[in-house]
């Protein structure tokens, strides 16, 4: 029996979230604000790309159309990517990279990844459960890293506080996409593949509230905006990200070195 669409879509969302954030964080390679953080970003990126490779390989195998991790990462077009819009946003505002923005996004993302991978570790999809059992350890380290930097920024100087708060205000509305439950998640949850993300919101809220309180930062107000990356409808930033990520593989298909 072919793997149902909701199952593949659910896996692709997980995989693409990790892949696209991994790609964004890799942009800090050689540009980090200090050497240790340059190394931290590339290490976190490596973890995320590693998770994405396992998830994409699994999705490709279940799909049964002969697509491996590389085919899915490099030869799908923008509308076939299923990451939430949050992950494709630039590392700052406009052309200016901003470390507070990167750290704020890592905090929002890892505060969800931890309870999500914890839940996925008991998925009825046993391969997904195995991947999650490994990934949750990496996600906990990412959350620890982002939390510590958020505290430094928020409870640091006026400048760092203002930039951390501005980054939160800008990114916060994109988290609405996680809580907007659709049929893919409902079906996946009904079949024990994985949770509805909205069910993880209390855990996410608790983590965010604790970190923001310590960091003397305000929790941004909720607004009704909902982005649509998980349905394949992306922001204007996605095309540029994919161009950079995919160009080598598309110009030299099958190249090895």
């Amino acid at each position: 029996m072919p793997t149902p669409s909701y199952h593949l879509q659910y896996l692709l969302r997980l995989a693409d979230n990790a892949l696209v954030l991994g790609q964004r964080l890799a942009e800090w390679c050689g540009h980090g604000p200090l050497l240790e953080e340059d190394i931290a970003m590339t290490n976190i990126s490596l973890d995320l790309v590693g998770q994405a490779r396992l998830l994409l390989s699994h999705a490709g195998a279940l799909e049964g159309r002969g697509r491996d991790e590389d085919a899915l990462a490099y030869f799908r077009d923008e509308s076939e990517f299923r990451n939430a819009t949050l992950f494709e946003l630039p590392n700052g505002e406009g052309a200016h990279d901003d470390y507070a923005t990167t750290i704020a996004r890592n905090l929002l993302a890892s505060a969800l990844a931890v309870p999500l991978y914890e839940a996925l570790a008991s998925s009825t999809d046993t391969t997904l459960a195995q991947i999650a059992a490994k990934s949750v350890k990496e996600a906990r380290a990412h959350l620890r890293h982002a939390s510590e930097w958020m505290l430094r920024f928020g409870d640091g100087t006026d400048e760092s506080h203002a930039r951390a708060q501005a980054a939160l205000e800008r990114l916060w509305p994109y988290t609405n996409e996680w809580w907007a439950t659709d049929e893919v998640e409902r079906q996946a949850a009904a079949h024990g593949i994985g949770p509805v993300l909205a069910d993880l919101r209390p855990a996410w809220d608790a983590t965010l509230d604790a970190v923001l309180a310590q960091a003397t930062l305000r929790r941004p107000a909720d607004i009704p905006f909902v982005s649509s990356g998980k349905h394949g409808v992306h922001s204007e930033h996605m095309g540029f990200l994919l161009a950079e990520m995919q160009t080598l593989a598309r110009q030299h298909p099958g190249a090895t070195w």
Binding site: E36, I39, A40, N43, I44, L46, D47, L48, V49, G50, Q51, R53, L54, V114, T127, Q130, I131, A133, K134, S135, K137, E138, R140, A141, L143, R144, H145, S147, E148, L151, R152, A203, A206, T207, A210, V211, Q214
Partner: protein, 173 residues
Amino acid sequence: MTTQSGERLVRARALAAAVPDPEIPVVTLEDLGILRSVDEEDGRVVVVLTPTYTGCPATQVIADDVRRALSEAGIADADVRLTLTPPWTTDWISADGRRKLREYGIAPPGGDAPAGTSVLRFVPRPRPAVESIECPRCGSADVERLSQYGSTPCKALYRCVACREPFDYFKPY
């Protein structure tokens, strides 16, 4: 199983176990606890490894190194596979492996990996509370973390407050 293939398996197992880690060559695959099994299927040697971190770039190199080590010893058709279960943790590092790491200048993992929701530590330069980390040079437990991430996915950068030497720490995972 014939005696001949039994001997070949014992030899293959010893060869794979002795392959050094490409990033930390002082420890072997056996020391790290990532060699899960060496068996035979249809006359072919099958080596099963497990990765450390999901994205560790050494994983592919290790698989290639195992194939090469076996092939150089006359076992040319080895099949090297990866398994994720049971997941590797730093608890799989042997006592011998931990000693070799320490002698090499890398503090072996101490204590448990951060678990549950208690991962938030709001101290600018946290002194290890749960983890017990000793300076691999002078043995002092008075150490401080410089960076949560280091030169490979599995390591963090620490400094000994007693002897002032920086050192790598193999993080609990």
